[in-house]
Symmetry: C2
């Protein structure tokens, strides 16, 4: 009765996401995605109402990607917020295009930094509780202070103005926590 689809939603979304990682969000155009998938632009508009819808999905996928990245990141930090910070800074270094999209873009659908960081699992709250349990008197304030520091290091690595290795990051964050 009908023809079978040869280009799936997965094909499109995965390629669009890979292009975002490799070439940046701005390069995710209908024709470029189609070329990478190996089809015309038509299947894109069968699956998605328009490009904005696809872009939205790419953004959502990037959020999940970051959260998975954090889940899988080795937990070598010894002080509260250092695991979160090391992962975040490494993510900025290794996934510059995704970092820009998630944490520096101006999309209307953009989630807040806290929303992404804390996620489903309450990663931030977990660290705040840890700080509290370790005797930190103002864990929220500590998070804020640490996070300015962490975000600064991450954004600095984007432009190549300051690139930290994981080991340097670790040391710096532990010092910073101790100073608080």
């Amino acid at each position: 009765m009908a023809r079978k689809e040869s280009v799936t939603m997965q094909d499109i979304l995965e390629n669009a996401f890979a292009m975002t990682r490799e070439e940046g969000f701005a390069n995710v155009t209908a024709r470029k995605v189609a070329a990478r998938v190996g089809c015309s632009t038509q299947p894109i508009f069968r699956v998605y109402k328009n490009m904005e819808e696809l872009w939205g999905e790419v953004y959502e996928k990037a959020v999940l990607f970051f959260q998975d990245y954090y889940d899988l990141f080795p937990r070598t930090g010894t002080v509260p917020f250092s695991n979160l910070g090391m992962a975040y800074i490494a993510f900025a270094r290794e996934e510059k295009n995704l970092f820009r999209l998630l944490f520096l873009s101006e999309l209307p659908e953009k989630k807040s930094l806290y929303e992404i960081l804390n996620g489903e699992k309450g990663n931030v709250l977990f660290e705040i509780n840890k700080a509290s349990a370790m005797g930190c008197s103002n864990p929220q304030g500590m998070f804020m202070r640490m996070w300015l520091f962490i975000h600064g290091a991450a954004c600095m690595s984007l432009t190549g103005d300051y690139d930290l290795t994981d080991a340097e990051t670790k040391k710096l964050l532990e010092q910073e926590y101790a100073n608080g």
Copy 2:
């Protein structure tokens, strides 16, 4: 013998720069600049070889603008790096588009953060010397630590994730310096 020019280089550059401030660097296109100046695109290409050349001039003007901004910023800070930091964070808050262009873009002609900050007058070195004179044992390390913090606050205000007033900034920077 010849006709007098009615559209000057100044007209073009000033409008292109104002557009960068108000609407962002990406909106500086030949037609949009022309529309704002009130002429056709022709005079632009008489004055500038191509748009890249104009963009380069806009960038240079932005560098000078930031340095003037810092020169004129009230010096209310009490610890080394706090005047620089307060100005930088205020600049990010007040001039988001220029901040993005100067400190987060990926232009080939982009100057390093240090190059812009230190400038002709050696602003960074001046602060480092001040720290040294005030008994700081590792002023370079202190600068680096303070700057991660400052850059973090600035970049955070861009996305609206964390907006500091000048007074809050001042307090935070003084605490941060004391902690070092």
